[in-house]
């Protein structure tokens, strides 16, 4: 009986493995959001010479869980003027695209267990990075839809600003990544990491790294580029009318995007799971995963550091900065890189 079941399932092993990986990564990602919120609040506190949340549980670790419980039980208000269907759809789009984007991120070497070669990713697409950009751009739809369906001038303005900002900075993001892609000669994220075995790309493409980081911060709508949420002018931007869990979903989307962007920077510029200074043993999959996580963690801390340091940029300055400085610099970087590749 069991043999026949195993025989029946044998050709579908890849499906089972894939499903398990997908579930693990989705749960891991979603549960890392409260931790990231906790980290941000604690770190922000320290940057402002205060303590941050420290009442709920040890080191205030219970605070994000208390907050999410509160949000779960809050009344979900939908105002009469809203377009109900789009209003409900928008947060789902944001979270969905955020999670799907992360599924393309490899975060470790493939390892072998029970004669199965298991890669540390949900999907290893041969145009990985293109796919990441494509899906993460879909997230803009969620924000625009939220702004439109709220039927509120602040939401609409916030949604439009956000989409304009994300589309502008996506250009820089792509152009900066192109330098790395040209050096590697591959769009596959795993191959890009493998190409950095000896030297991380940050040393070969320092300008691209800076451009990518700035554009990445803008792409995730984080301070100092958090224009869509400019409290002084737009209340809360595109999620002004959202409350309860629907608001929390926007929040979740933003934090997942933060993780994804940090992971992407790690993969493209910091050599992914390769450790350069301290040799780290493999230990099945723990070593590379640890190296990768540490890099992502440091990048996340820098994101929080930036947020607590810089004031918000004015909207026209943001656009000028994006189009007149970042894009030309990215083009220049691309040109120089291509010249070097042709010569050597």
């Amino acid at each position: 009986m069991i043999d026949s079941v195993i025989d029946f399932l044998a050709p579908y092993t890849f499906l089972i493995v894939g499903a398990v990986k997908a579930v693990i990564i989705a749960i891991g990602l979603l549960s890392s959001v409260p931790l990231l919120v906790w980290l941000e609040r604690r770190l922000m506190g320290r940057f402002q010479v205060r303590l941050g949340p420290n009442r709920v549980g040890p080191f205030g670790l219970g605070q994000p869980f208390a907050d999410s419980l509160k949000l779960l039980f809050k009344e979900s208000i939908v105002q009469n003027s809203a377009d109900k269907f789009l209003f409900y759809l928008a947060p789902a789009v944001v979270v969905f695209t955020a999670i799907v984007t992360f599924s393309l991120i490899p975060f470790g070497k493939p390892f072998e267990i029970f004669d199965q070669k298991i890669g540390m990713w949900v999907a290893n697409v041969n145009v990985g990075i293109l796919f990441v950009f494509a899906i993460s751009s879909m997230g803009i739809y969620g924000i625009v839809l939220a702004g439109l369906s709220s039927n509120n001038k602040y939401s609409l303005m916030g949604g439009l600003r956000s989409s304009a900002q994300m589309i502008s900075y996506e250009l820089t993001l792509g152009l900066a990544a192109l330098g790395v892609i040209m050096i590697t000669g591959s769009l596959n994220l795993q191959e890009i990491v493998d190409a950095q075995k000896t030297v991380p790309n940050i040393l070969l493409q320092p300008l691209a790294f800076v451009l990518f980081y700035i554009a990445g911060v803008a792409e995730t709508n984080r301070a100092p580029f958090d224009l869509p949420e400019a409290e002084q002018e737009l209340v809360a931007g595109f999620h002004t009318e959202y409350s309860g869990m629907k608001f929390a979903m926007f929040f979740m989307g933003e934090y997942i995007n933060m993780i994804t962007m940090s992971a992407l920077i790690t993969l493209l510029f910091l050599g992914g799971w390769h450790s350069y200074i301290i040799p780290v043993p493999d230990l099945l999959f723990i070593g590379p995963l640890l190296v990768f996580s540490v890099k992502v963690f440091i990048l996340l801390c820098i994101l929080i550091w930036l947020r607590s340091t810089f004031p918000r940029i004015r909207y026209d300055r943001l656009m000028t900065f994006g189009w007149k400085i970042l894009v030309p610099l990215a083009m220049l970087n691309l040109m120089v890189t291509s010249v070097f590749i042709v010569i050597f």
């Binding site: 320290r46 010479v49 205060r50 303590l51 420290n54 550091w305 930036l306 340091t309 300055r317």
Partner: protein, 173 residues
């Protein structure tokens, strides 16, 4: 904004701009490694300044007699009228204060009081004083009519009336 004459000027501005940004990052980093200024209140309590105007108390002199002579100047001077005094004569058998009269009833409505300290200033005998006790929260409104007995008991500074947490400490500044 970007009408710059020469490339050198542009380069200069860029260098200065980046330097400024890094200085800002440095300031926040220094903040991060400096100890937080937060004092976790119920566990750690500040010692209040000596002239802090907190709760009222009635004083006694060195012989153990009450300083209050029941003149009602505090009540008359109170801008919100939260002090109620009823005076009575001292007698040989019942000597409460050193003067002729004493306060038979002395009540302060702590909810109405604005803690201005005028009663303290008006008092000719330094009988009513405002001290550094600021933890006046309670669950019962009736507790806020402080009668003479309560005003005469002088608890240690900055202690909960009920030490709920059992971990009360006082920090010296």
């Amino acid at each position: 904004m970007f009408k710059l004459q020469s490339v050198t000027q542009l380069a200069n501005e860029t260098v200065v701009g980046v330097k400024n940004l890094l200085t800002g990052m440095g300031v926040t980093f220094k903040n991060m490694i400096s100890p937080p200024t937060t004092q976790c209140y119920p566990e750690i309590k500040r010692e209040m300044p000596a002239r802090y105007r907190g709760r009222h108390f009635l004083t006694r002199n060195s012989e153990g007699l009450e300083n209050c002579v029941g003149c009602e100047l505090c009540a008359a001077n109170c801008p919100v009228g939260c002090i109620h005094v009823e005076a009575a004569e001292n007698s040989e058998g019942n000597r409460v204060s050193k003067g002729e009269r004493y306060a038979r009833v002395y009540e302060i409505n702590l909810l109405r009081c604005i803690y201005c300290g005028y009663c303290e200033e008006a008092c000719p005998e330094d009988a009513v004083i405002l001290r550094e006790h600021y933890e006046l929260a309670n669950y019962d409104r009736d507790c806020y009519i402080a009668d003479k007995e309560e005003l005469l008991t002088y608890p240690e500074p900055n202690q909960f009336r009920v030490n709920y947490l059992g971990n009360t400490t006082v920090v010296k500044k």
